[in-house]
Amino acid sequence: MILHELISYDVLRVIWWALLGLLLIGFAMTDGFDMGVGALLPFVGKTDVERRVVINTVGPVWEGNQVWFILGGGAIFAAWPPLYAVSFSGFYLAMFTVLAALILRPVAFKYRSKREDPRWRSSWDWCLFIGGAVPALIFGVAVGNVLQGVPFELTADLFSRYEGAFYAKFAGLLNPFALLTGLVSLAMLVTHGAAWLSFKAEGVVAERSRRFGTVSGLLMIAGYVLAGIWLATGIEGYALVGEVVANGPSNPLYSEVVRSDSWLSTYSERPWAAVAPLLGLLGMTMTVLGLRAGREGSTLLWSKLGILGTISSVGLTMFPFLLPSSLDPRSSLTVWDSSSSHQTLFVMLVSTAIFMPIILAYTAWVYRVLWGKVTEADVTDSHSAY
């Protein structure tokens, strides 16, 4: 097939870098509020009916939202196989923890209200809490570690090896900077969940959500600023040296990488990139203000923009790096040397261009059908509610 020559390899790589970012952002914008709602569940719902209201605001949609996560995994596999191979085996126990927490969710949603027993229900509520809070925290921890570099190296056969015993792989992840970014991620998604609840619920549940959302929103802003300062002063970055071959074969060992003073030098080279962190801060600030003022629709929108800005800021800060290696910088994975082949990237781009609009269209339709607040009466009168 010569068709794939239509778009040059380097352009395809940049497109797939952006698409990967968009998938993660789509995941955080949609499943993010499901996780935030899960994390808030035990606190904003005191009675069984209140909790059922909280659960049913996301009940019909969380499953579709979670596909952003699954698709994210699939897209990394298809478009960035080395990233898929190195990161998931490198973050092994952290990944296992995330999966275990996520496995709890479908079961908890489906089974919770199938029995009357209060202990049964309360156990599943805590499962939903774990299924929301734990992944939100660990995703942020992972970002913090990626920014610092991960201790792996590639052999000449491109087999990836890691430094340290198995527990070090997990305990080592939980360093102060990564814990901070984990907190930022958790606070961001909790705020997003609160914005969703104030939009979909009413009365005391919405009221409590706004209170929790305000606090987590402020935490998020403070943490984000702190992490930015830390990045500027305390953490070394990475840089490609020598001639950058953007069209070359995907072999990370062909490029030379050194440690640089700071990741934030990106912003002197590409000042426009500052739009991302500014949008992140603006979005979260407006979310907090909106929650305080009791605005509903616009607050949810601002919270989405905040997520867009925050996640983009990480990607733009690191570009072209995907996964820097602290053990052997030369092994670092970048946009130019860790993609699929030219043809695979092209085939996958065409498929995405066809199916993504269809997905967005029917997802929008489903949200429209389910438009409106979930009330206590909805939950108690319905046979189909969770």
């Binding site: 699939g74 085996s89 296992f96 496995i103 198995f166 074969p249 695979t344 997802t363 059908v369 189909s384």
Partner: protein, 537 residues
């Protein structure tokens, strides 16, 4: 190579995949059966069919939740436990997984919520469309997974790139329309349909035995038996198609399944029973059916099917050829653009056997330094254990045929004997509920164990595919999965039984009213409408 890591990774994959496949077949089949029932409801407007849709839909939902939960693991497990596999073939293997998300998983997951929550929010037609979209989504999902798996069995449309040390896609079309994948897809979804049919049949039979919900149970049996009969036939026919495809792509797997040690003059006989002995390289006490194997495997009277001993000789030749490829690869990797055209030509000529040189990596770091004994050992490795394959395959086939008989019997009673079923038949239907799951797991066992020692047939050995992990990592997660999944399975089965015992929500009054109205429509009698009005009040 640390074999503990390899064995533990295999065990973990087998466990999580087989666990996942406890829920998948029922999802595949029940989604379609539920959509069929709802179609009848929308076409006839009979309330009983809506009650059936809701009841079987409820059981579908309980099962679906665990299918989703255990499926999450699968998407990430390749990267976690099979890092080198992911690197080596991700360029091809990742694409169908991503496409599954795009085309199938989004569809099924987005609409499954609306299926349960949308009864009061959607028109009848819209809800029916949603039900079918869930069914289509589930089945598409199987399509892409089987394309991915089919490629591991028959790696077409790809070639090795020395610069990136991995396989890269040369033709997406070939990967998608891989004959092995297509046969496997229809075989697998049909197996799912049989599973769901046996499930619906068995549960309905139990209701009839108990004298409960007879209206619903009889109709459900009719749907299950007709759908099940068609599917059971399809499983066997497409299973045969799969076997036919295997004759060309995986000769060793076929020979091992059949316990065929020597190449027989065509057409070969089929061994019905026997005890394969790996050490002695013979199948003891074998009962043969003349010509059958040749006919099934090649669909001709003159084509030979190679036996294990000849195939082992072939493997040895490929290992030696692979060593030449490996040697050329090392030169090319060192000199990159400067490597001579001769070396490149040598590599091209032998690159198809490169994977066979990798078999030696279990015994020696550099395959070029392998001793004769090591080459013989690697040759032996290309033969999987024959005994379990031989028997797993036969058991699966026997179960497959038994489903045809059961479904045909119930179809006959349902169509020509006024839906009257003898008690022994109903008891049998309850008794065989677990059988399709056993058959499905055996099928996967034959497909995956039979491919050993490869993860990708002839391309990448299993021993080389793993991640750089410690035994502790793997043990911890293995125990985690076992405990976690077992608890979830117990809860699932308990809930399933609870809702089966509780039975469907039958609105008797609604059904009665509908019947009266229906009578009135048929007879055109106006007086009855007053009666109906009175009844409503």
């Amino acid at each position: 190579m640390d074999l503990d890591i390899v064995e533990l990774s295999r065990l973990q994959f087998a466990l999580t995949a087989m666990y996942h496949f406890l829920f998948v077949p029922l999802t595949l089949g029940l989604s379609v059966i539920v959509a069929i029932m709802e179609t009848v409801y929308v076409m006839t407007d009979r309330p009983i069919w809506r009650q059936m849709t809701k009841f079987w839909g409820l059981l579908f939902g309980i099962n679906f939740a665990l299918g989703v939960a255990t499926g999450i693991t699968m998407e990430f497990q390749f990267g976690m436990n099979w890092s080198y596999f992911s690197h080596y073939v991700g360029d091809i293997f990742g694409a169908p997984l991503a496409l599954e998300g795009l085309m199938a998983f989004f569809l099924e997951a987005t609409f499954v919520g609306l299926f349960f929550f949308g009864w009061d929010k959607l028109s009848k037609i819209a809800h029916l469309v949603v039900a079918w979209l869930v069914a289509i989504g589930s089945n598409f999902s199987a399509l892409w997974i089987l394309i991915a798996n089919g490629w591991m069995q028959n790696p077409v449309g790809a070639e090795f790139n020395p610069e990136t040390m991995r396989m890269e896609m040369t033709s997406f079309f070939d990967v998608m329309f891989n004959s092995v994948a297509q046969a496997k897809f229809v075989h697998t979804v049909s197996a799912g349909y049989v599973t769901a049919s046996v499930f619906v049949l068995g549960v309905s039979a139990w209701y009839l035995l108990k004298g409960r919900h007879e209206e619903l149970a009889r109709r459900s049996i009719t749907v299950a038996a007709s759908f099940g009969l068609a599917s059971a036939l399809s499983v066997v026919v497409l299973g045969d198609e799969s076997g036919y495809a295997t004759t060309h792509s995986q000769q060793m797997k076929l020979a091992a399944m059949e316990g065929m040690w020597e190449t027989e003059p065509a057409p070969a006989s089929f061994t019905l029973f026997g005890l394969p002995d790996q050490e002695a390289r013979e199948t003891k006490y074998a009962v043969h059916i003349p010509f059958a194997m040749g006919l099934i495997g090649t669909r001709s009277l003159t084509t030979e099917i190679p036996g294990i001993n000849d195939l082992l000789d072939k493997s040895e030749g490929r290992i030696r050829s692979g060593i030449i490829a490996y040697d050329a690869l090392m030169t090319i990797r060192e000199q990159r653009q400067q490597s001579s055209p001769e070396v490149r030509a040598t590599f091209e000529a032998h690159s198809a056997d490169l994977g066979y040189a990798f078999l030696l990596k279990r015994y020696v770091e550099d395959p070029r330094e392998a001793s004769e004994a090591q080459i013989m050992q690697a040759t032996e490795d290309t033969l999987p254990r024959v005994f379990p394959l031989f028997w797993a395959f036969r058991l699966m086939v026997a179960l497959g045929f038994s489903f045809i008989i059961v479904m045909a019997y119930f179809f006959w009673r349902s169509s020509f004997r006024q839906q009257v079923y003898p008690r022994w038949a109903l008891r049998l239907a309850v008794f065989i509920i677990p059988a399709p799951w056993i058959a499905a797991e055996l099928g996967w066992f034959v497909a995956e164990y039979g491919r050993q020692p490869w993860t990708v047939d002839g391309v990448l050995p299993t021993a080389l595919s793993v991640s750089h992990l410690s035994v502790m990592d793997l043990l911890l997660t293995l125990i985690g999965y076992v405990v976690f999944y077992t608890v979830l399975l117990i809860i699932e089965v308990a809930l399933m039984l609870k809702y089966i015992r509780k039975g469907p929500f039958e609105d008797v009054e609604e059904t009665r009213l509908w019947n009266i109205q229906h009578q009135q429509m048929l007879s055109g009698n106006q007086d009855l409408s007053h009666q109906t009005q009175a009844l409503r009040e």
